[in-house]
């Protein structure tokens, strides 16, 4: 298979061409993408990804990441790969192998690097390719290995969001009798408390508000309102009792 052979040749040759600096490589890629999009537009709008500049740049960036493996310099190259590899449709596997390679490197070498922040944000969108379980393991490892508080908080946020995704799809095993939604909420609550002041904790606070709901198995949001005499009643007053909630009226 010709294309497969070309890919092997590229990867084999790539280390020899590893750029000294990532910046110029990425800059020239950005310029090439602009030119590519413009010429595609002129050619009638159809974009042929097999001719996308990513096909050429991806092996070079990967080679750069390999040359600097295990050092902070590899990080921006790996982030670049997560962001751009999917455009390399001319490479058999459509860049998927490269994405997986980058994620493996991140998990192997960079769990403790504060700069993993950007990579984590991108990985979320690769869940269908990489699998929720795999990503959850990485997030979990970040919470354990990364010393940066904001990064830990961010990883917890993504863990909670993944539980929500699993819960919405009806997947995800109940653990300790908790549904994925309940696990997600418990994580968000701890996150808000333990990581107060981080951007992820703020996002968690707004997330928990929008996910208040009333589905079976979910924690009921509190209800507050006046009784017939105007005295305030809260449903949470009755916590610890079975509550029959009766929506009714005559009108």
């Amino acid at each position: 298979m010709m294309l497969g052979a070309a890919w092997i040749l590229l990867t084999a040759a790539a280390p020899l061409r590893a750029a000294d600096e990532l910046g110029p490589l990425v800059d020239s890629y950005d310029a090439a993408v602009r030119a590519f999009v413009e010429s595609s537009g002129k050619a009638g709008g159809a974009i042929d990804l097999t001719k996308h500049p990513a096909n050429e740049t991806l092996p070079q960036v990967q080679a750069y990441a390999e040359t600097h493996a295990g050092t902070p310099q590899a990080m921006p190259a790996l982030v670049w790969m997560l962001k751009n590899a999917r455009n390399a449709a001319g490479i058999p596997t459509g860049g998927k192998v490269a994405v997986k390679w980058a994620v493996d490197r991140l998990a192997r070498d960079h769990l403790g690097d504060p700069a993993i922040k950007d990579a984590l944000a991108l990985m979320r969108y690769l869940s269908f390719q990489l699998g929720h379980e795999h990503l959850m393991n990485i997030y979990q490892a970040v919470t354990e290995r990364n010393q940066d508080r904001a990064v830990q908080a961010q990883a917890w946020l993504y863990i909670a969001q993944t539980h929500f995704v699993l819960g919405a799809g009806g997947e995800g095993a109940s653990r300790d009798g908790q549904t994925p939604r309940q696990q997600a909420k418990a994580i968000l609550k701890s996150l808000i408390k333990d990581y107060a002041g981080t951007p992820a904790a703020e996002e968690a606070a707004s997330l928990i508000k929008t996910t208040q709901g009333t589905g079976i198995g979910m924690e009921a949001p509190d209800i507050v309102g006046p009784d017939a005499d105007g005295k305030e009643i809260r449903m949470s007053q009755f916590h610890g009792q079975v509550v029959l909630l009766h929506f009714w009226g005559f009108w």
């Binding site: 696990q183 017939a228 610890g240 079975v242 509550v243 009766h246």
Partner: protein
Amino acid sequence: MIPHEREMARKYAGKPFTLLGINSDQSRSALKSTMEKEKITWPNIWGGPASSNAIARAWEVTGWPTLFVLDHEGIVRHKNLRGAALEKAIEELIAKVPAKPAASSQPTSETSEGN
């Protein structure tokens, strides 16, 4: 509907059970007179007319009456059970409430689940 609610309020009196009404009458005074007329003794929150009842909206209630059963931990367990099935579900949940000395209606502190 109301006679069955009244009967359940009586039947489960003294148990760790509360009937809580969320009312959609036009006004609080309309609720007050209904409560007197129908001998409604359990707590009721007036949520405003059905069209603008924010509590009903938050609970995605689109038909009245709508019933939810919550367990003692505040987890929604059942929706729109009626009659004998409703009583059976309530009794099962009451049986799961951990026994504690004199169930107080006022929690001493907000217990957080944490993880």
